[in-house]
Symmetry: C2
């Protein structure tokens, strides 16, 4: 049997996860966990690079995100769930890698440039934020990951990681660390229920995984469709119609969705019918997740056990990689 | 008895130490070690920030510098000698602190600006080098140091550390970490034997602590005096005369030196007499150091024992500080 690819992925612990995370990554992780060796990193240290003023929120959400993982079906027996800030080897590798990359290269990283702009940092970029591509390279290489699921906008971070890997491998004269490939999901980013490009808790346009049926129905009710589609009998636009985008993402019957699109385009199909269908689908999807989530949340000790076991496993692996890198470079050994 | 001040100091392990280090810092450390709690950090991780291409040299010199410490009279029973790269808590604190300081602030640091220029980095500054003030803040605070011996040009680094300390203390609402004071040595930097401002091994104008009597004599012989002082009977200049600078630094009899200066100024005192005197003083100083150094270097196991004991003590202390910082900030605890 060939060696399984190693996947590293995870989430910044800035808040509980939502339907956008489910569509873009969580369900892929559940699907991939048996055919791959998978590590999920609760990236609290990375979350601090732009949340240093509110570390308590970042800490609180470690448990929340872990609970989300378990609720959607991540199996801690096959997927290692671990806490980034409890892995000192990641910090050590980050500092080593920062010596292998120039400030100018970090500033040129397109992902970093975009995020600096999106966050409105201006000249007041926290140094940790500028440096996080090196931290991400530490994460990826410490787990010897070869496959990293990322959005298209994050692909330059994988390129940066591979530059560091090549630089290191060249310096030590052998393939000490593997390069990683981006795994870009087929389904792009799910828009917010209001039609804005990104679903986010802070944007108020996200459906949390714990949403009740009533919250789901209310969110779908508010969903952006085609503003020109005033009467059911009018022809309607499918492109940019959030209800159809969601049906494409979640409806288990794509043929039926194709038929609905044709009907909507020629007129005679009301938004209410579509919204009713979507509400049903989302309630069916989120209902069991919400119930599992509530049960898991009542057993905090179990979640902590999962985190302790996963983090211990990750400590062993990341420490081993750190030692291999140090020894290959010929650093001092006590 | 009042609490002893805590001193943190140390050296980048880029090469064995020389007479310049002895004059500017080593002898102070020997003098201070009984009245203060003193930690000496073998700063191999910091040395890598601009020596990532040659880690083996940095590693090799950890033992060399430790041997120098023991040879000059650092007593490992009272001074803790430890290896920076073996203290993961320093890396963890560094990453935390990088979130509390902006890129612009690091770029404005006068010490960093000067050193970037001195090293000719141009735009190709390793990110680790730009970030090293945060690493130094981690070092200082992890040891809860209150007194940091630095050259005048390094004082801005202590200011940067204290900014981070104040920011942290303000955020957590109490004096979690102490601020540190610079301890600027009375004797400024010893010039090279060729009269250039800085004695350095790479500049070829340094006297290593292991120099033989013949090497000492040859170095003093080449020393820059007063180029206008052609005959012994001519009046000579004392200012900028390296032989007098060295006599000021090392002659145990300052009154006698004052007399020699007066004689030299009015003429009638040859360079050969002064150089002979200085050679004798330096041979008396370095002879016993050289012999102790050679004996210690033959017992590598002893040096390793000292490093292991000191580093274990430092690990306990720095881990404790890391935990205190994490807990005060409310970071996640497994």
């Amino acid at each position: 049997m060939p060696c399984k690819s190693v996947i590293l992925t995870g989430d910044r612990t800035t808040g509980p996860l939502h339907l956008g995370h489910y569509a873009g990554s969580l369900r892929n992780r559940v699907a991939l966990q048996h055919s791959h060796r998978q590590y999920l990193l609760l990236a609290d240290a990375q979350a601090l690079t732009d949340n240093a003023h509110d570390p308590a929120r970042i800490a609180r959400n470690v448990i929340e995100v872990a609970t989300d993982y378990l609720a959607v079906g991540i199996d801690p027996a096959v997927t290692t769930i671990c806490v980034q800030s409890a892995l000192p080897a990641l910090a050590e590798l980050t500092l080593l890698y920062l010596n292998l990359v120039t400030v100018a290269r970090l500033e040129r990283n397109p992902t970093i440039k975009d995020e600096i702009q999106a966050r409105g940092f201006g000249r007041d970029i926290p140094a940790g934020f500028l440096c996080y591509p090196a931290a991400q390279a530490a994460d990826i290489t410490a787990f010897r990951a070869t496959l990293v699921p990322v959005g298209e906008d994050q692909a330059p971070l994988i390129e940066q990681t591979n530059e560091i890997v090549r630089r290191l491998n060249r310096q030590v004269g052998h393939d000490l660390l593997p390069e990683a490939r981006s795994l870009i999901p087929e389904i792009g980013r799910l828009p917010g229920v209001d039609g804005r490009a990104k679903m986010s808790k802070s944007g108020g346009n996200a459906l949390p995984l714990s949403a009740s049926d009533a919250e789901i129905a209310a969110s779908v009710q508010r969903m952006y469709t085609d503003p020109g589609h005033l009467r059911a009998s009018d022809p309607g636009r499918v492109e940019g119609n959030v209800v159809f985008t969601y049906l494409d993402a979640f409806d288990p019957d794509p043929e039926e969705v194709a038929g609905l699109k044709a009907h909507y385009r020629r007129g005679g199909l009301g938004d209410a019918v579509l919204k009713g269908r979507l509400t049903g689908i989302l309630c069916d999807l989120l209902g069991p997740i919400r119930e599992r989530r509530a049960a898991i949340a009542r057993d905090r000790d179990h979640v902590m056990d999962v985190l302790r076991t996963g983090t211990a496993r990750a400590q062993a692996l990341t420490t081993q990689t750190r030692d291999a890198v140090r020894d290959a470079l010929g650093l001092f050994r006590l």
